[in-house]
């Protein structure tokens, strides 16, 4: 059984979230950059959503549309295949990252080209397409400004929407100055850190690539089953460049991106921009259905990607993660993401959605994936802002249970019985002890009294396996008197003095 590969190429193993976050929270530049960015977008998003009195109804409709699609995904996948084929496209199916990469590399090679321009795409990051193309002798140029910053900086993306959110303008200028010349047109002389100048440098650098590109690669935000229409939402125009100038377009799309009807776009085109960039509408949205004579690519390929999605679908609690439209609103409100940064999540999907998506797509076998369900304070802010109402805290708790207790799951299409994860023995023992005590009121009362009377002698940190827990938390002090004793003393008797 091959493991599902979800991003972070070149780094086979990632440390567990607590260890990765440990260093990140001490990086004051990173925390400053993140704090500035997340707080800016948070306030703007709230204002953009407040303009819509029917937000709750749009959110409910978005959830229902996605749930309906997922419940009939086999049927809609076949509709997509029929509609795209009828419109002049070719559909390919990829069960995992390797297969998707093989298909795309083969399609590019068949054109005789050795370079491609890419629109930012979470799916192609997830499967490590750029690295796979590199290995096949094909150079892939990222064209989204933030992706370009990440690519030039030999860096990893740290946010779904703004992959270079961890970089400030000074860092970006330095990257452009030192790296652009290695990839093409160098940065202009005397480049400063003014955002407008940096954007201009990116424009000049990328334009020569756009104008000569013969092959474009994209993802899609939505695929309409009824019509075979693909939708890409973007701001810079790099998407339009990649989608319309090349002769061949290859779109790699997760099977969860389907919506049933053309009309359904009215819901998501209202909720996605406001949730992600806090705009009424993003500057550019491109929609295409197969190929059009004389306008845009003559050849269109759609690669439908599974890569762990059907395993996620098999989990009745966790499948709601597949409703995600990748808006990143949950990242921007998350107190954990704000402090730890996106890299600590060890996946192209950081933040709260990453904490539930990655362990489902990849399974919980690795250290990082077993730790991700714990990368949360369960404050619920992510659920509040989610435009498709994914109950992220519910799935986090569900995955914690799977990590600690093990149990049935689906991996690569096969039912497996997971063993309880290592390192949670103390937790399981504590829960067993709690279950024992809580079902025996006499023992509980005795224990509480004993604890109160010995409180002076309690240590400030726990010994043994509890040490890690108190390493980052204060041990709550035991009160001088158990609650039940206090109640009896102040309210006189078990029913209380006001009892009728």
């Amino acid at each position: 059984m091959s493991a599902t590969f979800v991003g972070m190429p070149g780094s086979p193993a990632f440390p567990a979230f607590p260890r990765a976050a440990h260093d990140a929270v001490r990086d004051t530049t990173l925390r400053g950059n993140l704090r500035h960015a997340t707080h800016t977008i948070r306030a703007k998003r709230a204002a953009a959503v407040a303009e819509m009195p029917d937000w709750a109804a749009l959110r409910a409709a978005g959830r229902q549309i996605k749930d309906h699609t997922l419940r009939h995904l086999d049927w809609y996948l076949v509709r997509v295949e029929e509609a795209v084929t009828a419109a002049g496209g070719t559909v390919h199916w990829a069960a995992d990252a390797d297969e998707a990469n093989r298909i795309v590399a083969g399609l590019v090679k068949a054109t005789g080209e050795s370079e491609v321009v890419k629109v930012k795409s979470m799916a192609t990051q997830e499967i490590g397409l750029n690295e796979a193309l590199e290995a096949a002798g094909i150079r892939a140029y990222e064209t989204d400004l933030a992706e370009l910053i990440v690519q030039l900086g030999h860096d990893r993306p740290s946010h779904i929407l703004v992959p270079a959110i961890h970089r400030n303008r000074g860092e970006i200028r330095d990257i452009f100055r030192s790296e652009m010349s290695r990839w093409g047109r160098p940065a202009p002389e005397g480049l400063t850190d003014a955002p407008a100048e940096l954007a201009e440098a990116a424009r000049l650098h990328l334009r020569e690539k756009f104008l000569r590109a013969k092959v474009g690669i994209s993802g899609a935000n939505f695929v309409v089953a009824e019509t075979g229409t693909l939708v890409v939402v973007e701001s810079e125009g790099n998407g339009r460049m990649c989608l319309t100038l090349p002769e061949t377009l290859i779109s790699v799309v997760g099977i969860e991106k389907i919506v049933p009807t053309w009309r359904d776009l009215e819901v998501f085109l209202q909720t996605l921009p406001r949730s992600s960039t806090a705009e009424r509408m993003n500057p550019y949205t491109s929609m295409w259905t197969g190929t059009t004579d004389g306008d845009g690519p003559e050849t269109f390929h759609l690669v439908l990607l599974d890569n762990g999605r059907t395993d996620t679908l098999a989990d009745e609690v966790g499948r709601q993660a597949l409703r995600c439209i990748r808006c990143s609103a949950c990242l921007n409100v998350c107190p954990v993401y704000e402090r730890a940064g996106g890299h600590a999540y060890g996946s192209v999907y950081p933040g709260p959605i990453g904490a539930i998506l990655s362990p489902q797509l990849r399974g919980t076998a690795s250290e990082i994936d077993a730790s991700l369900p714990y990368a949360s304070s369960l404050c619920g802010a992510c659920y509040e802002v989610c435009p498709v109402a994914i109950d992220i805290p519910e799935v986090l708790v569900h995955l914690r249970e799977r990590v600690v207790e093990g149990g049935p799951a689906t991996r690569a299409g096969n039912k497996v019985l997971l063993k309880p994860a290592k390192g949670h023995a103390a937790e399981r023992a504590a829960m067993r002890a709690a279950r024992w005590a809580l079902t025996r009121p006499g023992a509980l009362r005795g224990g509480q009294r004993l604890a109160s009377r010995t409180r002076r002698f309690h240590p400030r940190t726990l010994p043994g396996p509890g040490r890690a827990w108190t390493g980052t938390r204060d041990l709550p002090p035991v009160p001088a008197e158990p609650f039940r004793d206090w109640w009896q003393r102040t309210h006189g008797g078990p029913g209380g003095k006001d009892a009728k």
């Binding site: 950059n33 960015a37 977008i41 819509m52 009195p53 029917d54 409910a60 409709a61 229902q64 309906h68 009939h72 995904l73 086999d74 049927w75 996948l77 295949e81 199916w93 297969e99 933030a146 910053i149 703004v162 400030n168 303008r169 970006i172 955002p195 954007a199 990328l206 309409v224 009824e226 019509t227 229409t229 701001s235 810079e236 339009r240 460049m241 989608l243 319309t244 009807t261 053309w262 009309r263 009215e266 085109l269 009424r280 509408m281 500057p283 550019y284 949205t285 491109s286 295409w288 259905t289 059009t292 306008d295 845009g296 599974d306 059907t310 395993d311 679908l313 009745e316 499948r319 299409g413």
Partner: protein, 227 residues
């Protein structure tokens, strides 16, 4: 077994909890209107936000376009040719690209060189053109959005992308709708569609919005009445 069969098989096995009578709806007879699917999705959200008369809707379009840094002009049909000529002159444009069936009367006052969009014109040729003038299919007031659908007065997608200056003429009130749902109703999904809300922009550097990356850095919208 092909990957297609493998994936479809995995999906079906993953959905064993879905009751068998919960069958998917048949292919809709027309877009988004199948009764069974419509029962599963409650569409009690608004068709538009707020009550406005025609004039107010056009005003809102102008306001929201300007809010996203498009430059908005208003005129009547008679003034339009001179306004277009003026905008091109102001910009210092020497060449202007036009789609094949742009309203002839719109360009009667211009003195710059017209460049036709030929199917074989290369992206490099388009890159040397100063400005482009097009019509539009529909404009959305609530979001400040223009939608182009590749009709002969709007041309191929690339012509409104590569040149740095785009003048888009919107007939008001005929081409203006209030909301996104109303716009989708008017559009034909089989055409290539481009939704434009303000000029090209990025927020990738510290989430500061900067206008103008790859698409036209200047978007001028002419709302023309009495057409």
């Amino acid at each position: 077994m092909s990957s297609r069969d493998r994936i479809l098989g995995r999906v079906r096995r993953a959905l064993v909890d879905v009751p068998p009578d919960d069958a998917p709806p048949p292919v809709p007879e027309r877009p988004g209107r199948h009764p069974r699917y419509e029962r599963e999705v409650s569409r009690d959200y608004l068709r538009q936000h707020g009550d406005r008369n025609t004039e107010e809707t056009v005003d809102l379009l102008a306001e929201n376009l300007a809010d996203y840094r498009a430059i908005v002009h208003r005129c009547d049909a008679e003034e339009l040719p001179r306004l277009i000529a003026h905008l091109l002159g102001e910009r210092g444009s020497n060449t202007v690209l036009v789609p094949p069936a742009l309203e002839q009367g719109w360009l009667t006052a211009i003195e710059v060189t017209l460049v036709a969009d030929r199917p074989d014109s290369t992206p490099h040729e388009l890159d040397r053109v100063d400005s482009v003038v097009t019509g539009c299919a529909v404009a959305v007031a609530e979001t400040g959005t223009l939608v182009l659908d590749g009709s002969p007065d709007q041309g191929r997608r690339r012509i409104t992308l590569v040149p740095d200056h785009h003048i888009c003429v919107v007939r008001v009130p005929g081409q203006v709708v209030s909301s996104v749902p109303q716009a989708l109703e008017r559009l034909d999904p089989t055409r290539p569609l481009t939704w434009i809300s303000g000029p090209s922009a990025t927020s990738d550097i510290e989430l500061d919005r900067v206008e103008g990356v790859h698409g036209p850095r200047t978007l001028e919208v002419v709302l023309v009445s009495g057409e």
